[in-house]
């Protein structure tokens, strides 16, 4: 009897192994192959320190390393891990960060990478020489000095503790360049590639493609898995979808629309894997504080109270790249607003009838008549601006407002905002890492992005307090206060829905995880192609 049970058990194990083995084998990274991906934008220059488009990151990042990076297996994209840094320590006053660099790291020309190169790169980012542009210099205002006690140690000393400092060092823009080259010509990296990354540069044919091949001397032994990658520059979204559908491209890393996803899944079935994530991009509504009646916070509050965000979340996500109802941080990330706190904010309540009744009352109190008309300026970009704009106008109609939409051409939109030539306007924010310091600095009174011209010292103080908080609990407390003031008490601006990132890709692509940022996880060292 026992033998029979043993035999049956062994048989069952055998069957399970037979079924599971191929899948297990598929989950083990395999070397070889060429990853082909579509890029909807092209790099204006190759120097990430001065650029802001993913059109640089997607084709160029695989040639470089950064000091830190975000953990490629972390779906929130908020956990810093070492890239060129092997380890680090933080002083008890949180003002000194000491990084130990990996040894044996070589540039593609065979020279050693040392702390001198990291320092030179950060010097260029933080204090660029005259005539050299650095887009993110302001993010490192807290840095007092950068020291290199030895070839494999670099020390950042801060003037004050800064909660976001580690994630700032994991910025995907902060490629580490070679110090000698920078010393000779700080513009050299605008047109040339020389990094320590997993792929060597092969060619860039403008308007066509970018090719990289495996770095055989990469410091992370065994990686990268791919023999090469090829980025195809394809602007038209329908052509990108057609490339994935026709298996001429494995993936497009920025994102597709829900309709594109559905059509790809329908056409390719199990040949397609769909990864989705809340996106660190959001459309918000700006109201000009110098223009009546939007100088009255009751009117601004009424506009946000009119929005039925939860119903829209369910339905707009079928036609547009938006989904989650969120506060000032991407849902599911460390500093995101808990749902119970979110529901207490104006316009986030579950009872839309009560919200709209309050909105009508506020408008009446503010002397805004029924049928009051204003122009809402929207950006001339189909996704998700158009559908969200139509939804907003419909929602405002529900509280008796008659809103006319004016579409401003995408290239003219930013200058329209800067001129303050609007009563109510769409605005947008896209971050490269989900981190409050990076995401909410735009709401400071002195910010260039304060298009509505609000002046709020309380909010400015709360920003500083959260940025310099030394414990997560303290920081969360200040962030929630900041958020309440911004979105509920003063309603300087308000959020619509969080963007939603949808990446339908060829099921052969493994080792890549979607995050809330289309700038992260683009080194491609962990990516491999299944057979």
């Amino acid at each position: 009897m026992l033998n029979r049970i043993n035999a049956l058990f062994m048989l069952a194990v055998g069957i399970v192994m037979a079924l599971v083995w191929p899948a297990m084998a598929q989950d083990k990274p395999r070397s070889g192959g060429e990853l082909i991906f579509a890029v909807p934008s092209e790099p204006p220059s190759y120097d990430a320190h001065q650029e802001e488009t993913f059109g640089v990151i997607h084709p160029v990042a695989p040639h470089y390393n950064t000091l830190l990076r975000t953990d490629p297996t972390d779906k929130t994209g908020t956990k810093p891990v070492g890239d060129l840094a092997e380890s680090w320590t933080i002083s008890s006053d949180q003002k000194t960060y000491t990084f130990k660099l990996r040894s044996g790291v070589k540039f593609h020309d065979g020279s050693d990478m040392t702390s001198k190169d990291v320092k030179a790169s950060y010097d260029k980012i933080m204090k660029p020489p005259a005539g050299v542009k650095s887009l993110r210099a302001a993010s490192y205002g807290a840095v007092e000095s950068v020291e290199t006690p030895d070839a494999h140690t670099i020390v950042f000393k801060l003037k004050w503790p800064e909660s976001s400092f580690l994630l700032n060092l994991a910025s995907p823009w902060n490629f580490i360049y070679k110090a000698d080259i920078l010393a000779k010509d700080p513009h050299w990296y605008e047109k040339n590639i020389m990094g320590t990354g997993p792929f060597l540069f092969v060619e860039h044919v403008r308007g066509s493609h970018w090719v990289g091949k495996k770095n055989p001397n990469y410091w992370d032994k065994g990686k990268p898995y791919l023999d090469s990658y090829r980025a195809l520059f394809i602007k038209s979204s329908s052509a990108q979808v057609a490339a994935v559908r026709g298996e001429r491209a494995h993936i497009q890393f920025r994102g597709f629309t829900p309709a594109d996803r559905d059509s790809l899944v329908k056409a390719l079935g199990n040949k397609i894997t769909v990864q989705e994530s809340p996106w660190d991009c959001v459309l918000m509504v700006n109201m000009h504080h110098d223009k009546k009646p939007f100088d009255d916070k009751r009117v601004r509050r009424a506009l946000t109270l009119a929005l039925d965000r939860y119903t829209a979340s369910k339905n707009l996500s079928r036609i547009a790249i938006v989904q989650d109802v969120a506060g000032i941080q991407v849902p599911g990330t460390p500093w995101a607003t808990p749902p119970e706190d979110l529901e207490k904010l104006a316009g986030y309540g579950r009872d839309i009838n009560a919200s709209r009744a309050e909105a009508r009352k506020l408008l009446k109190e503010a002397g805004v008549p029924e049928g009051f008309s204003f122009t809402f300026k929207n950006r001339g970009v189909p996704q998700p601006y158009e559908p969200v704009g139509i939804w907003l106008i419909d929602q405002w109609k529900q509280i008796g407002l008659n809103v006319k939409q004016e579409i401003v051409e995408a290239s003219a939109f930013h200058s329209m905002l800067k001129r303050g030539d609007f009563e109510v306007s769409m605005d947008f924010q896209c971050g490269f890492i989900v981190e409050p310091d990076l995401d909410i600095a735009r709401f400071l009174a002195v910010s260039d992005a304060n298009y509505g011209k609000h002046k709020d010292k309380v909010m400015d103080e709360l920003y500083l307090k959260q940025a310099r908080a030394t414990s997560p609990e303290e920081r969360k407390k200040y962030l929630r206060q900041f958020e309440k003031r911004l979105l509920d008490e003063e309603v300087h601006v308000f959020y619509t829905l969080q963007w939603h990132r949808i990446i339908p890709h060829n099921a052969k692509v493994r080792g890549w995880m979607v995050t809330p940022s289309h700038y992260l996880n683009q080194q491609l060292d962990t990516v491999w192609l299944a057979q």
Binding site: A259, I319, Q405, E406, I407
Partner: protein, 295 residues
């Protein structure tokens, strides 16, 4: 005697119009079909609030992308808005922009054409060269450029579509007016000391009316098509206003496979309207052209 009086009775204006209409229908059945479609469009535009089953701008998420059914005869769009209601209201936009642009374009063109022919000489030369400059731009490119400069409100759209029509009308009207200029009654008016404006407006313009009407109807179809094209390109009427060209863009393209009704019905409406105006315009030209009147 009384029998003779009855025999000479002049028919009333109503019965003359009825007879003319009957004659037009018999002789030009295609034009009559065009006229019927145009009348239907007018009726739909005028009675839109009465005949539209739903509010054309109201979002109904529960009915998103619904196929044609008893509830929504032509289905719904990606916001659950009734396609039929948006088509009906869209006819208002098409007619306002179409009529506004072609009426203005043809009238200004006619005035310039007649004045150019009447004055002749340097004025004629200058006006015609200016018309040549305008004519050197393709219709859609000029309209696109004007909308980009002026902005995309309905009045600006009318102006942008109207301007490229002016030189086309001016050239045709000028050629008709050139022969009228030499007529004895124009000479008589000059000799009687009438002002230039009186001669142009009272004596010359009424005599190019047939050409003007033909140009007007021909422009109507073009203007509707141009408005739809500009709206499709995102430079015309803006959401949530219902307009046929606008209904063809965005989600209608994205959901062309799963919800084809979003694109088919506005497309049919545009084609039908343009076809109707062209048919009617052609027949009107035939009816008003003395050389073709007997055919």
């Amino acid at each position: 005697m009384s029998e003779l009086v009855v025999g000479l009775e002049v028919p009333s204006r109503g019965s003359r119009l009825r007879a003319a209409c009957g004659d037009f229908i018999r002789r030009r059945p295609l034009g009559a079909i065009g006229a019927a479609v145009i009348l239907l469009m007018f009726a739909a535009a005028l009675t839109a609030p009465l005949i539209s089953p739903y509010d054309p701008v109201q979002v109904h998420f529960a009915a998103m992308l619904a196929p044609p059914s008893a509830e929504h005869w032509l289905g719904t769009d990606s916001f659950g808005r009734d396609v039929l209601s948006r088509l009906i209201y869209g006819s208002q936009t098409a007619l306002i922009v179409g009529f506004g642009a072609s009426l203005l374009g043809a009238t200004i063109g006619a005035l310039i054409g007649v004045a150019s022919a009447y004055f002749g000489g340097r004025i004629d030369l200058l006006l015609q060269r200016f018309m040549d400059v305008l004519l050197s731009f393709p219709l859609i490119i000029l309209a696109l450029a004007l909308v980009a400069i002026l902005g995309n409100s309905i009045p600006n759209l009318i102006v942008a579509i109207m301007i490229p029509m002016v030189p086309r009308c001016a050239l045709v009207i000028r050629s008709s007016a050139l022969s009228i200029r030499e007529m004895p009654y124009v000479d008589a008016a000059r000799a009687a000391g009438f002002t230039h404006s009186r001669i142009i407006l009272r004596h010359m313009l009424p005599n190019v009316m047939a050409t003007y009407l033909v140009m007007l109807t021909a422009f109507l179809g073009q203007a509707i098509l141009l408005e739809a094209s500009l709206s499709f390109l995102g430079l015309g009427v803006q959401e949530p206003l219902p307009a046929w060209g606008l209904m063809l863009r965005g989600a209608a393209v994205e959901f062309a496979e799963t919800a084809p009704w979003m694109a088919i019905f506005p497309g049919v409406a545009i084609s039908l309207a343009v076809f109707a105006f062209n048919l009617f315009g052609d027949s009107l030209r035939d009816a008003l052209d003395p050389r073709l009147r007997t055919q």
